[in-house]
């Protein structure tokens, strides 16, 4: 209809669906925690998630007056507890002790990030404004928190002049399902909020490399300005440092606040401390799907019924399930590699595992240890499968490696509960990271079956004629291939 294939839209999480189905998984208690920066901070600190350190919390004017502002030595932030969209936040860079100037309202003590200078009285006035509810949602009374300033990671500084860029990770059922890198612009007034005009770059969950970009709520962009290099750079291919730690932090947040089944975690990278959680959001926006060019609903359905055992498991899951096929794309541009019906692949052995291999030797490939395995190409199968005994020997069935269990249907009927494991292997020199199901192939000659999911960028060549006995039989020059007849 009108050139639109509605089936393509099934993957997306729509507003109606988010509001009616998924936001109901967030209890009112969970939402109350997310709405109060103070409570979030308290709970996350207990759960040992990195947060900016709290210096002081004010609930009344009297407390603001009583506090000894003089002892603060710069590098702090004043925030409303229930503020939204980054309003009412002031960041103090340093205190000016030696060369203080007298102005009307007292001595100038502090300098803000934007160079503006303030006196203690100014800061108190700002706190009073927050307390009277200037920045809270319905003008209701609010609290103030004073916390340590985050030292933004240098890599982020090259992309924006104003505000703090952060990483929004959407976590569902304790698995990170999508992430984006949010960059404030002059238009958004230094706020990392897409609704106010900030930019968002989609991030590949497996590698932490950016993919596509969006500005505001829906304009696709392909270039952004790099202040360090003083030129426009592509939005894709930016590597986010400490990616694994960021994902782990996001998962920890959901574990700490069980009332929120579906939430967005806003993470900032601190120069010294690593990932630090600024805020959790119980109603994450949906534009993240545009800058990732991927559907949230599809991903959430995939992880919806998986029982996540550990943080490691969650990170492995999102890596193998939602990783982009970068390697494939790069390879494809160079040349199309052909594979024969039977190939030798090199399967990576997990770190710290001692394989009990009798026949095949353990080889080295770069930093990794690999084992050569004979694999049969089967384009009729979607996912690859590996023999249970072999998987066990290679240490792929250990606790952290099994992604989930699924029912599988083969040509022989329904098989129940095959484990699906994350496997890294090299096929003709190309690295493939994928999810592979474990089956009983003990009676078969090849212990590994390569499905079409992992054959992207390869051309399967069936030129070599296989005799009935199996194995390769090279043809002599000039000899016509004999056709096998069915008896």
């Amino acid at each position: 209809m009108f050139g639109i294939n509605l089936k393509q839209y099934n993957q997306f999480l729509t507003i109606n669906e988010r509001n009616k189905i998924f936001l109901r998984k967030n209890s009112s208690e969970g939402r109350a925690i997310a709405d109060s920066k103070y409570r979030t901070k308290k709970i996350l600190t207990e759960a040992e998630v990195g947060v900016p350190k709290l210096i002081k919390r004010f609930r009344s004017w009297a407390e603001v007056e009583k506090f000894n502002w003089e002892e603060l030595d710069g590098n702090f932030v004043i925030k409303p507890v229930a503020g939204y969209g980054g309003d009412g936040i002031i960041i103090i860079r340093k205190s000016l002790k030696s060369k203080s100037l007298k102005v009307e309202s007292g001595e100038i003590k502090f300098q803000l990030m934007n160079g503006e200078k303030m006196t203690v009285e100014d800061l108190k006035g700002h706190c009073r404004e927050i307390l009277s509810g200037k920045y809270s949602l319905h003008g209701i009374q609010d609290g103030v928190i004073v916390e340590e300033r985050i030292k933004i990671h240098p890599m982020f500084l090259s992309l924006t002049k104003s505000g703090t860029p952060d990483i929004r990770v959407i976590v569902y059922n304790k698995v990170p399902v999508m992430a984006m890198f949010r960059i404030p612009t002059a238009k958004s007034g230094g706020k990392a909020n897409l609704q106010q005009g900030a930019m968002g770059l989609g991030i590949d969950l497996a590698t932490g490399i950016t993919t596509f970009g969006v500005e505001g709520k829906g304009d696709l962009i392909s270039k952004i300005y790099d202040i360090g290099k003083k030129k426009l750079i592509k939005v894709n291919g930016i590597k986010i440092p400490m990616w694994k730690e960021i994902l782990e932090t996001a998962v920890k947040c959901q574990k700490a606040i069980p009332g929120l089944g579906f939430l967005g975690v806003d993470v900032v990278l601190d120069k010294d401390k690593g990932p630090v959680v600024l805020e959790v959001n119980a109603r994450p926006g949906l534009s993240i799907q545009i800058c990732n060019k991927a559907g949230l609903k599809y991903r959430m359905e995939k992880v919806g019924d998986i029982e996540v055992r550990s943080i490691d498991h969650a990170v492995t899951l999102c890596k193998y399930l939602f990783g982009e096929g970068f390697f494939e794309k790069v390879e494809q541009k160079e040349k199309i590699t052909t594979v024969e019906p039977i190939e030798i692949i090199k399967v990576k052995i997990p770190k710290g595992f001692k394989p009990e291999m009798q026949k095949s030797p353990v080889l080295k490939k770069g930093k990794h240890r690999v084992v050569e395995v004979r694999a049969k190409i089967d384009t009729g199968a979607f996912r690859s499968s590996i023999d249970r005994t072999l998987a066990n020997k290679l240490g792929l069935l250990s606790d952290g490696k099994v992604l989930y269990y699924r029912n599988y249907r083969s040509s022989l009927g329904k098989h129940r509960d095959r484990p699906v494991v994350g496997v890294t292997f090299w096929l003709n020199g190309k690295k493939v990271m994928t999810a592979v199901n474990v089956a009983d192939r003990s009676k078969l000659r090849t212990k590994f079956l390569l499905g079409r999911k992992d054959l992207g960028g390869f051309l399967v060549s069936a030129k070599t004629l296989l005799p009935a006995g199996g194995g390769h039989l090279p043809l002599k020059k000039g000899e016509a291939p004999k056709l096998l007849k069915n008896k």
């Binding site: 639109i4 509605l6 393509q8 839209y9 997306f12 729509t14 507003i15 109606n16 669906e17 009616k20 189905i21 939204y84 969209g85 309003d87 949602l137 609704q195 106010q196 005009g197 969006v214 709520k217 829906g218 696709l220 799907q289 545009i290 990732n292 060019k293 991927a294 559907g295």
Partner: protein, 268 residues
């Protein structure tokens, strides 16, 4: 924005056409009730019977129609929001503005609203300099709007451009509420968002007003109120359980669809 202008234009055109060419518009709605008497009360026709009695006792048929149509317009607004993706300030503001438009006429209503919004924004800019408390500032703002409305009334009676005989204080208050929402959203979110929501509200209100203004619909509501109520509940239940895509989201997510290699090879 363009849609809004189009819809407003169409609505205004329809209104002018209706005023000039439909002679039966002068037949009062009360007459319709009197011409179509309902039989004895049997439970199912309670509303109809009640409205008939009310009209007989001197309640304006117009009031009853408006009362019965209010949930109908709210239903239309909710369908437009959840299925088509029109955004506005909640459901009550568009409904209220729709009623206001019905009272003033759409063109006059829009002029009035434009005047109120302009005055409001102007007074905000002006009052910011004095750093007053919020409520006194709003109070002065209201004063300016009143003067503006007064000016509008005198100007239009002098030049006879618009029919202001239908102007009353309630539509004005509703529109002030809308400008308040606009100012609040502008502060809380952004001017772009506030504009979008305001135009959405006006659009929804105009559509609602057009539906309420159709004489046939008015008569139908008056004669078969139970049916309308029942249909409204049915539609609202259907919309209330709708979790599918909003039409506006099709455009939004279109950019998020990756071109699969399959479709590429087909083009080549």
């Amino acid at each position: 924005m363009i849609t809004l202008v189009l819809v407003a234009g169409l609505a205004a055109g329809r209104e002018i056409w209706a005023r000039s060419y439909e002679p039966w518009i002068d037949v009062p709605l009360e007459q319709v009730v009197k011409d179509n008497r309902v039989g004895n009360w049997n439970g199912l026709n309670s509303l109809r019977k009640a409205s008939e009695i009310a009209v007989d006792r001197g309640v304006g048929a117009n009031t009853i129609v408006l009362l019965l149509m209010l949930p109908l317009v709210a239903t239309v607004v909710s369908v437009l929001h959840y299925v088509f993706g029109f955004m506005g300030y909640g459901i009550f503001t568009p409904t209220m503005i729709a009623v206001a438009f019905l009272a003033t006429g759409i063109v006059e209503g829009l002029v009035l609203f434009g005047m109120i919004l302009a005055t409001s924004l102007f007074s905000n800019v002006l009052l910011r300099r004095f750093k007053l408390h919020f409520w006194p500032a709003r109070s002065i703002n209201l004063m300016m709007i009143t003067i503006g409305t007064f000016g509008l009334i005198s100007a239009s009676t002098y030049w006879r451009v618009f029919d202001v005989s239908r102007l009353s204080v309630f539509p004005m208050l509703f529109m002030i509420l809308l400008t308040e929402e606009f100012v609040r959203t502008e502060l809380a979110k952004s001017r772009k968002e506030a504009k979008k929501l305001m135009f959405g509200t006006l659009l929804l209100a105009i559509l609602g007003a057009v539906i309420m203004d159709i004489r046939e619909v008015q008569e139908m509501v008056l004669l078969y109120p139970e049916m309308f109520l029942f249909a409204g509940i049915l539609i609202n239940f259907a919309v209330g359980n709708y979790t599918g895509i909003r039409l506006s989201e099709i455009g939004r997510f279109k950019k998020a669809i990756r071109k699969s290699p399959k479709s590429k090879s087909l083009k080549v």
